[in-house]
Every structure is written in C-alpha cells, then in structure tokens.
C-alpha cells in the first residue's frame, strides 16, 4: 500500500472507530442522564416549594407548572421555570410561588454560564434566599429591592428580570389570592 492510501485508511479507521465508540457511549449514558435530569427537576421543585413531597404537572397557556403537594394532598404552591438573560448566556431557574399569599417561596438556579467566582454566585443561598417570602408585586429592581453581588451586576439583574417577566404571565394565569 502506498503512503497516501495508508493515510486515508488510517484516518478512516480512526473516524469510524471514534464514531462507534461515541454512539455506544451515548446509548449507554443517555438513559442515566435523563434519569438524573428527572431527579434534579424533582429536587428543585421540592427545594423551591418547602414541605412538598410530590408534584403534579399542569400545562397551561404554553407554560408548564408543577403543583407541589404534601403527604396529605394539600397544595403547597406552584413551581415554574423562568429564564433570564445573564452575562454569559441564559440563566434558567425554578421559581416557587404561593398564590394564596402572593409570595415567592424559593428560587433555584438550574443552569447558567456566568463567570465563576463572580456572577456564578447567583446560585448560592446568600443570593437566592432573598427571594424567599418576597411579594410578587415588588418591582424586582436590582440595588433597590434586589441585593446584587460585588463585581457582577448583570447576572443578578438577569435573575430579577427573568423572574419578573415570568411572574407577569404567571400571575395572570394564577392570580394572587385565587384558587389553583
């Protein structure tokens, strides 16, 4: 075999083997990854709706809501996903909302690509806990009613904006004081 044919054959073998290895790895890993994603979703719902042990999924006006229930079947609130524009890309979060009280019950950042050590601090409880018990009619303006992080102003603003935009829709579907 001359050297050019050999080059092509070797590259071809490498590419095919790599494709096979990747396909098999994907097949093996993807059910586990999805299972993990489901677990993470459940954990985040329980986190933003304290006291919840199970949840029901409801689709309404193009949005997905997770209604949290405790062991006795009492409704503990509604969790929904919100997206804000951060510094490094979209920030996805799970927000807990209690329509009876008109208050947020919790916030968890699901995914983000903010600067480690700066904007990434939005996922720490020191930042997210300030939204617990916050009234949904608040203005959600950074530096006014939302604490920011030193060195990162865009990331907290993205979170606050994302929640506000989602709440505008959600409070129309599930008004404060109304039934759900």
């Amino acid at each position: 075999m001359n050297q050019y044919a050999r080059m092509i054959v070797v590259l071809l073998i490498f590419s095919v083997l790599s494709g096979v290895v990747l396909a098999f790895s994907y097949e093996i890993a993807i059910p586990k990854i999805q299972e993990q994603a489901q677990k993470d979703l459940e954990a985040s719902i329980k986190n933003v709706l304290p006291g919840t042990t199970r949840y029901e999924q409801v689709e309404k006006e193009g949005m997905t809501f997770y209604i949290g229930l405790d062991d006795q079947g009492n409704k503990k609130g509604i969790a929904f996903k919100a997206t804000g524009q951060g510094f490094g890309g979209p920030i996805e979060m799970m927000v807990g909302y209690d329509p009876k009280e008109g208050k947020l019950t919790g916030l968890q950042i699901l995914s983000m690509a903010e600067t480690p050590g700066l904007g990434a601090k939005i996922q720490e409880p020191a930042f997210t806990d300030q939204f617990k018990g916050k009234s949904v009619t608040d203005p959600f303006v950074p530096k006014e009613d939302v604490k920011v992080i030193t060195g990162a102003t865009i990331s907290p603003a993205g979170v606050a904006n994302g929640i506000k935009i989602a709440l505008d829709k959600v409070t129309k579907i599930y008004p404060v004081g109304g039934d759900y």
């Binding site: 050297q3 050999r6 080059m7 070797v10 590259l11 490498f14 590419s15 790599s18 290895v21 990747l22 790895s25 994907y26 093996i28 890993a29 993807i30 059910p31 586990k32 990854i33 993990q36 993470d40 690509a113 600067t115 480690p116 050590g117 700066l118 030193t150 060195g151």
Partner: protein, 204 residues
C-alpha cells in the same frame, strides 16, 4: 525505573506546563478565579491526559506521520466526549463541579503538546509517567494561581474565610486582568528561584 521517575518529576518543576513551558494558558487564565476550580480543572485534564497519552503511545507505530495531528485530535475529542457523557450519567455530583470544564479540555494544548512531543515517541509506560507528572504539575500550578486570586479577590481560600469578613476585596483579581497579574508575578518568582538554584550549583 529511574527513567520513569525522571519522566514523572519533569512535569512537576523543570518542564512545568504552566510556569516553564507556558502552554495551556487558555484554561489557566480563564478558570482560576478560585482554588477549587484549579483542582477540578487540573484533575479532569490529568485524567484525559493520562488516557490519551497511553492510547497515542500504543498507536504510535500505526499512525502515519503526515496525518498524526488529525488522529490525535480524534482520539482526544472522542475521549473527552466519552468522559463527559459518563460523568454526567453516573457521577452527577462530580459533574456539577467539573461539567463546565470538561469541554474545555479538548482545546487544552498541554494534551496535544504531550501527544506530539512525548507520547508518540516513547513506550506506553513512559508516556503514562510523563502524563501523570505533567497533569499534577498543571494541577498544582493552576491551584496556586486560583488560591492567590481567590485570596485577594474574595478573601477566601477553598471557600474558607482567611482575611476576615470585612477585608477589602480586590475585585480586579477575579476579573481577567487579575489572571494576567497573578500569572506574571508567580512566573517572576519561579524564575528567581530557578536562577538562584542554578547559581548555587555553579559555585560548588
């Protein structure tokens, strides 16, 4: 055996990828805002480096010289993707810390450099010794940079408060310029230490 120890120690100091060869600067400058990030990135890169060096060393007589670079890239990229998939599925806790850094390893030129300059020329066992040394050398170097930046920028090291809650924080140390400042100063210190030791051997 002596050769193996020498190959291993090489990466720790004499040819330290970060402070001596100045390669792999992209992850070094980008992720070192905290000491923990340094350890995470370093270990993930070491893992990939060891296995890609082993594979490339095993295949060194099979790969034609003219297409060696595409072959290395295929091996490294495949390996990184497999690690990424399995870690996401089976070690979610670890993935939460390392997940952000794993795709970055594909473009870490330490791995390409060791494949090209070392692993493709020696036996698999020597390639592994070298990869381990280089990986650990990279890990300690970026952890040190991370620790300095975290200390000055956040007042903590590995998340523990060292400077007290009210110490002034130099936010610039956490921003990109801080990476260059820290890197430059540490590099200068490294050079001073090395120069001294060279002078001493000449005296004796």
């Amino acid at each position: 055996m002596y050769q193996l120890v020498k190959d291993f120690l090489n990466g720790l100091w004499n040819e330290n990828p970060t402070f001596r060869m100045i390669i792999g600067m992209c992850p070094t400058l980008a992720v070192t805002t905290a000491a923990m990030n340094g350890i995470a990135m370093g270990l993930a890169a070491t893992f990939v480096l060891v296995f890609s060096s082993l594979l490339i060393s095993l295949l060194r007589n099979f790969i034609p010289a003219k297409v060696r670079i595409p072959c290395y890239i295929i091996v490294i990229a495949t390996f990184v993707t497999v690690v990424d998939l399995f870690m996401a599925g089976y070690f979610p806790a670890m993935y939460r810390i390392l997940g952000l850094f794993i795709p970055l390893i594909v473009v870490n030129c330490i791995i390409m450099a060791r494949a090209e300059a070392f692993a493709s020329k020696v036996t698999p066992i020597r390639a592994i010794a070298d990869a381990l040394g280089m990986g650990i050398g990279f890990t300690w170097a970026i952890t040190l940079i991370g620790a300095v930046r975290e200390l000055m920028g956040s007042g903590t090291v590995f998340g523990y408060h060292v400077l007290g809650e009210n110490a002034t924080r130099w936010v610039i140390m956490l921003l990109p310029p801080g990476a260059f400042l820290t890197m430059g100063i540490l590099l200068g210190i490294m050079n001073v230490i090395t120069r001294k030791s060279v002078k001493n051997t000449q005296c004796h």
